[in-house]
């Protein structure tokens, strides 16, 4: 399909909204927009971070998902107790593939589900005693853990358990950090509030633990914030920073440790990849410790080069030379990848609907491959994310917030993109529609996609999805023959 004009895109949105009842239509209309680069403030044309309309198919998660699944889960030497009924922990275990180096069950605990498994009696009599017992058991079974976090599920908030008191008492007993996190799923409209609550818990219980203690610092200390090491992303980013001469003190939180987090206030610059989930703690560190923070983008060579130079500009000439050296080293390899895949992907159209940072950060990587992003949206973004997205996207492209299953399908039916990047809930619906699809939440079980090394994998994955021969075989052979036969007859 040829490119839409602004009027056509607006007409498409109106057509899609037509099926809703009056009230829902009015509400949903505020969440859909046609990009206009001249508007600098997204709040004038898009509403975000609002409760989803009841009855629609939304793809959002809950505060618990944001806190346990995103922020706390990947910290490898902290045991995260899913405090409440068993399901939340069981279904959020390992889904994001936050890689870590360590021995699972001995010194690393990312891929194990620890839960207090609430029963009826715990709801009636309260779960505090059970939590205390659970912490004792954990201490006996996993003595090498460095800390424990208590991730509340909905019932804990509803029955009013005092997890803070248990945490304080037990922390004194076992001599480890125990962090109570009030991330009950009913808080907020999406996982976004969970990120905020998790950041606040880190601020209150962890970040100042080592204030005033000796730390051997260098002028080149940085921390990677908001990289969850999905498929090894943080490692692919880290080697670039180390190659240019920086010292990465902490990884938040993919393959990160409690000690790293406690040492973060000593760094000279915080590098923020996922703005949505970790801007809160960056702002806190900026205020309390005077550490500046910088958003960067490690998707696709163009953006990586820009980011490396921007990061280097905060340091002296040694690092700036280092950045140029790294760029020069990888440029031939990147050119070869683009030369290989660009002819196969040139002009293909992509629609994205993910969370966090991907709908805007991956645009550059797709453009490096000659592809074009014609629609982007977030599950749980706020307006500052859309401010940033509108700059990245072309004019007259679609931007949709918390898009419903129906709307997304209709957009795809009309715009006919060559590739969709979204989550597992959408994946099979679009496979059945015959549209190439990548699950972009955890890189469709591939990765890493960050950094120069990641771009090679990204390009390969996009090529093998878009140009997969299976998309031409979706029609049953007898139906195909009939259709072709008719054509011949005509």
């Amino acid at each position: 399909m040829s490119e839409l004009t602004r009027e056509q895109a607006q007409a498409l949105i109106e057509e899609v909204l037509e099926v809703y009842p009056e009230k829902a239509k009015k509400d949903r209309a505020k969440h859909l927009m046609v990009n206009d680069k001249e508007i600098t403030q997204s709040k004038k044309c898009i509403t975000s971070n609002r409760k989803s309309v009841p009855g629609v198919m939304t793809q959002r998660g809950c505060a618990y998902a944001g806190s346990k699944g995103v922020v706390w889960g990947p910290i490898k030497d902290i045991i995260d107790i899913s405090h409440g009924p068993v399901g939340c922990g069981a279904y959020s275990r390992g889904g994001r593939r936050n890689y870590f180096s360590g021995t699972s069950g001995v010194d690393s605990f990312c891929d194990i589900n620890f839960t207090s498994d609430f029963q009826e009696k715990d709801i009636v009599f309260g779960g505090d005693k059970k939590l205390a017992k659970l912490i004792d058991e954990l201490e006996g079974l996993f003595p090498l853990s460095k800390g424990i976090s208590v991730q509340s599920e909905c019932p804990v908030g509803l029955i009013g358990d005092d997890i803070e008191a248990v945490a304080k008492k037990k922390a004194a007993e076992i001599g480890k950090v125990i962090v109570p996190v009030r991330c009950e799923g009913f808080r907020g409209v999406s996982q976004s509030l969970g990120h905020h609550i998790a950041n606040d818990a880190v601020r209150d219980w962890i970040i100042s633990n080592r204030d005033g203690k000796p730390f051997e610092s260098t002028p080149y200390d940085v921390a990677i914030l908001g990289d969850y090491n999905i498929g090894g992303d943080a490692w692919a980013s880290r080697i670039l920073l180390e190659e240019m001469g920086l010292r990465v003190v902490a990884q938040w939180s993919g393959d990160g440790t409690l000690t790293e987090m406690e040492n973060t206030p000593n760094v000279k610059l915080n590098l923020l990849h996922c703005y949505r989930s970790m801007n809160y703690i960056s702002r806190h560190m900026e205020e309390k410790y005077g550490i500046p923070w910088l958003e960067y983008n490690f998707f696709g060579p163009t953006k990586i080069k820009e980011s490396l130079r921007e990061i280097a500009s905060h340091f002296d000439e040694k690092i700036q030379e280092g950045a140029e050296r790294v760029i020069a080293k990888y440029t031939p390899a990147m050119d070869a990848i683009i030369a290989k895949y660009k002819p196969r992907l040139q002009g293909k159209k992509v629609m994205l609907y993910v969370g966090g940072l991907r709908p805007r950060h991956t645009v550059g990587a797709y453009e490096d491959l000659g592809m074009e992003v014609i629609g982007a949206g977030y599950e749980f973004a706020h307006n500052d994310d859309y401010d940033r997205t509108m700059k990245e996207m072309k004019d007259a492209t679609l931007i949709y917030d918390d898009v419903t299953g129906y709307e997304f399908e209709e957009f795809v039916r009309q715009l006919k993109p060559d590739l969709i990047g979204s989550g597992i809930k959408e994946k099979y619906a679009f496979h059945k529609m015959g549209v190439p699809f990548r699950q972009l939440h955890s890189w469709d079980y591939s990765g890493p996609y960050h950094g120069f090394d990641g771009f090679a994998i990204f390009a390969r994955d996009m090529d093998m999805t878009v140009n997969n021969p299976c998309w031409g075989m979706l029609k049953a052979p007898w139906l195909k023959d009939e259709a072709e036969g008719e054509q011949k007859a005509a």
Binding site: Q41, S192, H196, Y280, R283, E287
Partner: protein, 74 residues
């Protein structure tokens, strides 16, 4: 009353951040901006007006202060 954070933005101006609502915006004008007296009425890019009790100018930004919403969007 709400806690807000005032920080220096990249372009050299001041920016306003309301953590509770996750609202970030530029500060267009601030009533008092001298070393002895800082704060007062602040006007935001989105049309909101907040009031900070005047204090001596902070030595370092960002700073978290209590502010009262006078008018406009939140």
């Amino acid at each position: 009353m709400a806690n807000i954070m005032v920080r220096k933005s990249a372009d050299g101006g001041l920016s306003f951040y309301l953590p509770k609502r996750d609202i970030e915006d530029s500060i267009i004008s601030i009533e008092f901006d001298t070393p002895e007296k800082w704060g007062g009425e602040i006007r935001l890019g989105n049309g909101g007006i907040y009031y900070i009790d005047p204090i001596p100018a902070p030595a370092r930004l960002p700073i978290s202060v209590r502010a009262r919403r006078v008018d406009g969007v939140e």
